[in-house]
Amino acid sequence: MLQLLQLIVSGAAIGCIYALIALGFVLIYKATETVNFAQGDLMMIGGFIGLSAMTLIGMPFWLAFLVTIAAMSLVGMGTERLVLRPLLGQPAFTVVMVTIGLGYLARGLVTMIPYWGTETHALPVPYKDEVIWIGGEPGSNDALVLSVEHLVIILATVALVALLFVFFRYTRLGIAMQATSQNQLAAFYMGIPVRRVNMMVWGLSAAICGVAGLLLAPITFIHANMGFIGLKAFPAAVVGGFGSIPGALVGGLVIGIVESLSGFYLPEGFKDVAAYVVVLIMLVVKPNGLFGDNLTKKV
């Protein structure tokens, strides 16, 4: 029982990362109907920026955190402006291909930047390798052992989601983003600069990925192929229903926990594919996901 709880907590922590990346997909998808395959690589870049801020410049963790968010929103906005905007009105596959190219480019480019390189880096977070014992003496068998890294991920995700909720509900920009993603034309008629708002959505999405990168860094370390974890956010987004923000969060948690449990209870090898098996089952049983809307096309 204790073990189950332990597995669920660590699964939920990884699930939160999937959820954050999936949230990034969903924000972009809702706003522009494009799927960004470079989302995981954005997370990787975020991790590297945070790493440089901490180890090269010597910033404290909280400051590096803020710097990463700021830098990543610039990266996101720049990507939209330079690469995605010229493709407005092109078929969806064209845009998908360009994001795949961006991811491929990012993985190569990162290894060429001095200091970042091909090595694996550890992010010196203040809470590294700490654990909390609940319900027993440290070292005893009947205590629940929680890694602080996992707890931080979960708490930070909850805080971030709350912040985003407030942002989308109460701020002018957040409401404009909602309006744009519901109906671009109507939003444009209401005086919302749709293109600029979409650029900001990219910025927001990249910033969320940057946060995910920093949170994940103590567990997996930072390296050029870290972005492949982002591929598991696709199952998360699909399970939740592409285009639904609460869906992305629930989907991420489901995928994370299923993965964690199958890693323990099923034979070796199932852990890596659990997410994909879940998504295939979901696509066959309920393609619209848990919270998705009907996708039948009107002629």
Partner: protein, 358 residues
């Protein structure tokens, strides 16, 4: 400028549109036959690789370029072909039987993957193929008694009818022969009702359906054919590499195949050949160019992905029809010189087709 007048019905079904085409393709065929005498062993082996990748790109082109279904798990089919070939060969099957078997096994896997395509489309389908690709890779890793798992698998000598095909010249002829057969088969397929149905599905699923095209049947067929071609390619790849491991067939390989197809030019058979040709040619160029660059830049392992990433993005932004589209423009420019106008190939912008109900 050359005008084509059709005076006989045979001209409609001929593979070549006019004698000029016949001449150039004959010249190309001659060059391919003569290549072993003209080129070094290394270049010839690169040509074999181009042939092998052309076959899988042909399949991907059928799927992505002609049917409009994007597959992000194509390396999985390649793996199916390669491992089937390796396994059957180890059990003493002749190549003439094991190659069709590789195609068949990969094709059946394709049908399996095509089945979710009956329910989902667009991006959901891409994600389904991505998921299948990962699962296939993991299956290959875990089926250790057949595939040798992560430690890989050695492929025996390829001997057909007493002739040693591991010899690079013979192997080159084998690859080119199979590739040319596949191209001709594909050309004929695309002119058949099946091929027309594929294109109709790509252009609009709703109107294709209204014209009486069974979406489920044709999409599954497209997946099966595409996967079977990947299977053939995989079998040849296994013989070329002679040692296969699961990580050769990972997600990155799928992405690179897709990149080759897009760089070559979506929606054209020539594109499926141009793509891999360009890919291998550029690789050689980078290897050579490395020495000219300052060592801080030239010795980086990330140089190649960076360059290919930039090329891909540039192609999508500026030349959406790929290298083949560029070639069409150059050809038109020369044909109608000096009447070429700037906007002749201008991309039409369209309002985004929303998939939403609202």
């Amino acid at each position: 400028m050359h005008f084509l007048f059709k005076t006989r019905y045979e001209q409609d079904i001929s593979l070549f549109r006019h004698n000029g085409q016949r001449f150039w393709y004959a010249l190309l065929a001659l060059a391919l036959v003569a290549a072993p005498w003209l080129l070094s062993e290394y270049t010839l082996s690169q040509l074999s690789f181009i042939g092998i990748y052309s076959i899988v790109c042909l399949g991907l082109m059928l799927l992505a370029g002609y049917t409009g279904q994007v597959s992000l798990g194509h390396a999985g089919f390649l793996a199916m072909g390669a491992y089937t070939e390796a396994y059957l060969q180890a059990n003493g099957w002749p190549f003439a039987l094991s190659l069709p078997m590789s195609a068949l096994v990969a094709g059946l896997t394709g049908v399996m993957i095509g089945l979710p395509a009956l329910r989902v489309k667009g991006m959901y389908l891409s994600i389904a193929t991505l998921a299948f690709g990962f699962i296939l890779e993991e299956v290959v890793v875990r089926a250790e008694h057949i595939t040798g798992g992560n430690s890989g698998m050695q492929i025996g000598k390829l001997i057909i009818g007493g002739i040693d095909f591991d010899d690079h010249v013979n192997f080159y002829y084998l690859v080119i022969g199979i590739a040319v057969t596949c191209v001709i088969g594909m050309l004929n397929l695309l002119r058949s009702p099946t091929g027309r149905a594929f294109v109709a599905i790509r252009d609009s699923e709703v109107s294709a359906q209204s014209m009486g095209i069974n979406l489920a049947y044709y999409k599954t067929t497209a997946f099966a054919i595409s996967a079977a071609l990947a299977g053939i390619s995989g079998a040849l790849y296994a013989h070329k590499i002679t040692f296969i491991t699961p990580d050769q067939f990972g997600f990155l390989q799928s992405i690179e195949l897709l990149m080759m197809v897009v760089i070559g030019g979506l929606g054209s058979i020539q594109g499926a050949i141009f793509g891999p040709s360009f890919w291998f040619f550029a690789q050689q160029l980078i290897v050579v160019g490395k020495d000219w660059l300052p060592s801080a830049l030239g010795q980086q392992t990330g140089l190649q992905p960076t360059i290919f990433g930039i090329i891909l993005i540039a192609i999508v932004l500026f030349e959406p029809m790929g290298l083949y589209g560029r070639w069409l423009k150059i050809r038109t420019f020369l044909q109608i010189f000096p009447f070429y106008r700037k906007g002749m190939f201008k991309r039409q912008k369209s309002y985004m087709k929303s998939e939403r109900m609202k």
